[in-house]
């Protein structure tokens, strides 16, 4: 276990977060000849497959509030969200010139269409739209998804110039199982003692996992957990909230800090879902692709981009999260123009209303600068919960 303090660790994570040249990933690639890096966008792709091919999965989440979008705006009308334009900016400005492939998961029509744009703009770079099933029968959606993963694997084998064995896949699944276990520990500690794990810190620690090798990230989380457990942090009179809607275009870090400053402990969220998309451990025996498929179909998170076939179950993941974490309210924070988040929101709000759970809603962009209105809204929400809650 390292001797680093939580400050040391968070500082390092912040440096990684702010580095739009992805130096850590570049250094990893340069350290050994023949190494390859595969970028991916939200919400989920099976990183195990990339890892098994000996490649580094690199999370590309747009440019955030640190990147001035100059060229990217020429590709999109004003009524499209910011993440695709800043991702294009990363591409055309050369910041992704070391990336050997880009994966675009099926999350919405904007990211879907971006996959085609990427193929036209960067014809020499492997680009794949990664379709996932929205039907969950093993022999129907499961079979389709297994085939989709097999295609991805074949493509990466071609890129790597070698075959990937089932043993390698199992090893990679094991490594990611451990990483997900650590992420769940982080989230559990935060829910239990949010004053020990501020949301902004948890976010930075989690986000580091999108640019570092997974083994290193697992150690980083371990070190952070040990460091914060050893520290004595003051408890604040904050109310406990869940924040939802941030599964794709990321909020500025200041927005997460503003929520905390305004009197909220974020005890759960849907930020960076890829880090914990698969809920339990993926089995290691048997066919690895089959196991990943089963995990996706039956043991994965819920989000707006995922169809819920059962009306009674719709939105219940949010109610259960409130119950599990002792949350007192929900904040719907959706990126402007985000179809999945904004179309889903009224249904989720109805479910919370029926369950007697208070909520507020606002929109943001990855480069939102004005935090005062958000602080006021979240602060009023926190006050109203404290003043008028059943306790």
């Amino acid at each position: 276990m390292s001797e680093q303090t939580s400050t040391d660790i968070v500082e390092r994570c912040q440096t990684l977060y702010e580095d739009l040249n992805f130096s850590a990933a570049r250094q990893w690639k340069d350290a050994e000849a023949g190494r390859k890096v595969i970028g991916y966008m939200p919400v989920y792709i099976p990183r195990e497959i990339i890892h098994a091919a000996g490649m580094l999965p690199l999370g590309v989440l747009g440019g955030g509030d640190q990147l001035e979008v100059i060229h990217g705006d020429a590709y999109y009308q004003s009524y499209i969200c910011r993440i695709p334009r800043s991702t294009i900016e990363l591409g055309v400005s050369g910041r992704l010139d070391f990336v050997d492939g880009m994966l675009f998961p099926s999350i919405c029509d904007v990211i879907r269409n971006l996959s085609g744009m990427w193929k036209m703009m960067f014809p020499g770079v492997y680009a794949k739209y990664f379709d996932v099933p929205q039907t969950y029968e093993d022999e129907i959606g499961g079979k389709f998804y297994k085939q989709e993963m097999a295609e991805l694997l074949r493509d990466l084998e071609e890129l790597a110039g070698r075959k990937v064995s089932e043993a390698s896949l199992r090893k990679s699944i094991q490594v990611y199982n451990v990483n997900r276990q650590m992420v769940r520990k982080l989230y559990a500690l935060r829910a239990q003692k949010p004053w020990q794990v501020p949301a902004a810190e948890a976010y930075l620690v989690l986000r580091a996992g999108l640019v570092l090798p997974v083994e290193e990230h697992t150690t980083l989380i371990e070190d952070y957990l040990a460091a914060v457990e050893a520290e004595n942090r003051p408890i604040r009179d904050n109310c406990r909230v869940i924040v939802t809607g941030m599964f794709c275009e990321q909020p500025p870090l200041n927005l997460i800090k503003s929520l905390e400053l305004s009197g909220c402990y974020v005890v759960d969220d849907d930020l960076l879902l890829i880090t914990r998309w698969l809920i339990g451990d993926v089995p290691l025996d048997g066919d690895p692709l089959h196991n990943l498929s089963q995990a996706f179909l039956h043991q994965s998170e819920c989000t707006a981009a995922k169809y819920q076939p059962n009306l009674e179950e719709k939105g219940q993941y949010l109610v259960r999260a409130v119950q599990r974490t002792g949350a007192e309210g929900v904040i719907f924070a959706s990126p402007s123009f985000c179809d999945p988040a904004l179309l889903d929101r009224p249904m989720l709000q109805n479910i919370l209303k029926a369950a007697g759970i208070p909520y507020i809603a606002f929109k943001y962009a990855e480069n939102s600068g004005q935090m005062q209105p958000i602080r006021e809204q979240a602060g009023t929400f926190a006050d109203s919960i404290k003043l008028w809650s059943a306790a």
Partner: protein, 437 residues
């Protein structure tokens, strides 16, 4: 002195005989919907892209298409109020206005274009084809109606081709999920031969539709493939594909088009036959419906005719050879869904539009970008530049919306169009000078 004002009667809009026929078909259909409960008919709601009308008919279900209802609301200038009603109820101003028009219409009594109440659906056939919003739209309707919802996923043609995995996935869904559930809802046993019969009829109508659409290659074009095209695609994209009515309509329309070709005539517009054809355009993107006539007039009064459009492929692409095939009934339903315009990758769309500009000898490409439709709109600026590059022809870009009148600025649109037509003229005279030199 008492001043009396005489209200000017609106000029009677001239309509093609085929338009009259279509009006009759739509009226009958909406009456059937309105009387569904009284007649013991069951109703299925589904989407235009991925509209499995032939399959729906196998179960004696009446096909209700919320997109078409939203279009009808837009054309009748009712959608604005519906959209605002939905926004008042908490739906974001950023999302699809078809959805909001539908939600708002439901909130205000769900009155259809014929002034009668539309029925509650017995089943929602969520054909998840070419548009993410469809998933949420029918989740919202499911929340309201609490009826059976059948999900059919059409994989995206990201790599420009249909793969065996895609067909297998769709056929399995149809066999093991969609058809059994439709049987349960309707109480009608599935008869694959009945489906084959409908598919045979669909193919016949599709032949005529393609003939009609491809007549746009002629000079002058006897059709307007965008504004006029909205009428042409109605039956094939709606509740009539697979019926004798559709065969009759397209046979009838084909004769009309042949007559216009023989007479060297341009398309019929609401103000009568179009005059001299001065500009030939390919248009990408849906039209605006709330100001449809006004929008169309901006074209024909300048002598601009749309010779080909992508929107007339949104409910099925037939002009590259696909026909519904009765010999492979379930596979053909899958192929139909996979081929709809919004399920095609961006490179495929660029290729299609480039092909149209070249094959139809168009002067250029116009993109009507819809504010609330990400499926069409995201990437259109790149499409525009790419088609310009490949064809050497100028492109123009305007922004409106489907059925929210707040996003149609007539002056803005007219200004852009006029500038575009001037640009086309300049390019032409520049080219002529080049030839003369």
């Amino acid at each position: 002195m008492k001043i009396t004002t005489t209200r000017t009667q609106p000029k009677e809009v001239l309509k093609d005989a085929s338009m009259m026929k279509q009006k009759e078909m739509m009226a009958t259909h909406y009456d059937r919907l309105a009387n569904a409960e009284a007649n013991g008919d069951k109703v299925a709601s589904t989407f235009v892209p991925g509209n499995l009308n032939e399959l729906i008919m196998c179960f004696d279900l009446v096909n209700n298409l919320p997109e078409v209802n939203a279009i009808q609301s837009g054309l009748r200038r009712q959608s604005g109020a519906y959209v605002m009603e939905a926004e008042k109820a908490g739906h974001s101003e950023d999302v699809c206005t078809y959805v909001k028009s539908d939600i708002g219409m439901m909130a205000k009594g769900n009155i259809g274009p014929n002034g009668k109440k539309l029925p509650d659906p017995d089943v929602l056939l969520l054909s998840y084809t070419g548009c993410f919003t469809f998933m949420k739209w029918f989740e919202l309707l499911r929340e309201q109606y609490k009826c059976e919802t059948i999900f059919l996923q059409t994989p995206y043609m990201a790599d420009g081709k249909i793969t065996p995995n895609m067909i297998e996935y769709m056929v399995k869904q149809l066999k093991e999920d969609v058809i059994p559930k439709l049987e349960k809802v309707s109480g009608v046993k599935f008869d694959i031969d009945r489906l084959r019969e409908y598919l045979k009829k669909s193919a016949k109508a599709e032949d005529d539709l393609v003939y009609i659409l491809q007549s746009g290659k002629r000079k002058p074009s006897p059709i307007d493939a965008y504004f006029g095209g909205i009428y042409y695609i109605g039956p094939i994209f709606g509740a009539f594909r697979g019926t004798d009515d559709a065969i009759d309509y397209y046979g009838f329309l084909r004769e009309e088009v042949d007559q216009r070709i023989a007479g060297g005539l341009g398309p019929v517009t609401p103000d009568g036959p179009m005059g001299e054809e001065r500009y030939r355009l390919v248009v990408e993107g849906p039209p605006n419906y709330t100001n449809f006539r006004q929008f169309w007039k901006m074209f024909y009064e300048e002598g601009a005719v749309v010779v080909a459009s992508s929107y007339t492929k949104v409910g099925g692409t037939y002009d590259f050879g696909f026909r519904h095939d009765p010999d492979r009934p379930l596979e053909t339903l899958a192929e139909y869904c996979l081929g709809v315009y919004t399920n095609r990758s961006l490179p495929m769309r660029v290729e299609m539009l480039t092909n149209y500009v070249n094959e139809y000898e168009a002067d250029g490409l116009l993109i009507n970008s819809i504010k609330s439709c990400n499926s069409f709109s995201a990437g259109q600026l790149l499409i525009m530049r790419e088609v310009e590059k490949r064809t050497g022809k100028p492109a123009a870009f305007i922004e409106t919306d489907l059925v929210d009148p707040r996003y149609f600025s007539a002056a803005n649109v007219k200004n852009r169009l006029e500038s575009y037509f001037q640009m086309v003229e300049q390019k032409r005279s520049g080219a002529k000078k080049g030839v003369a030199a």
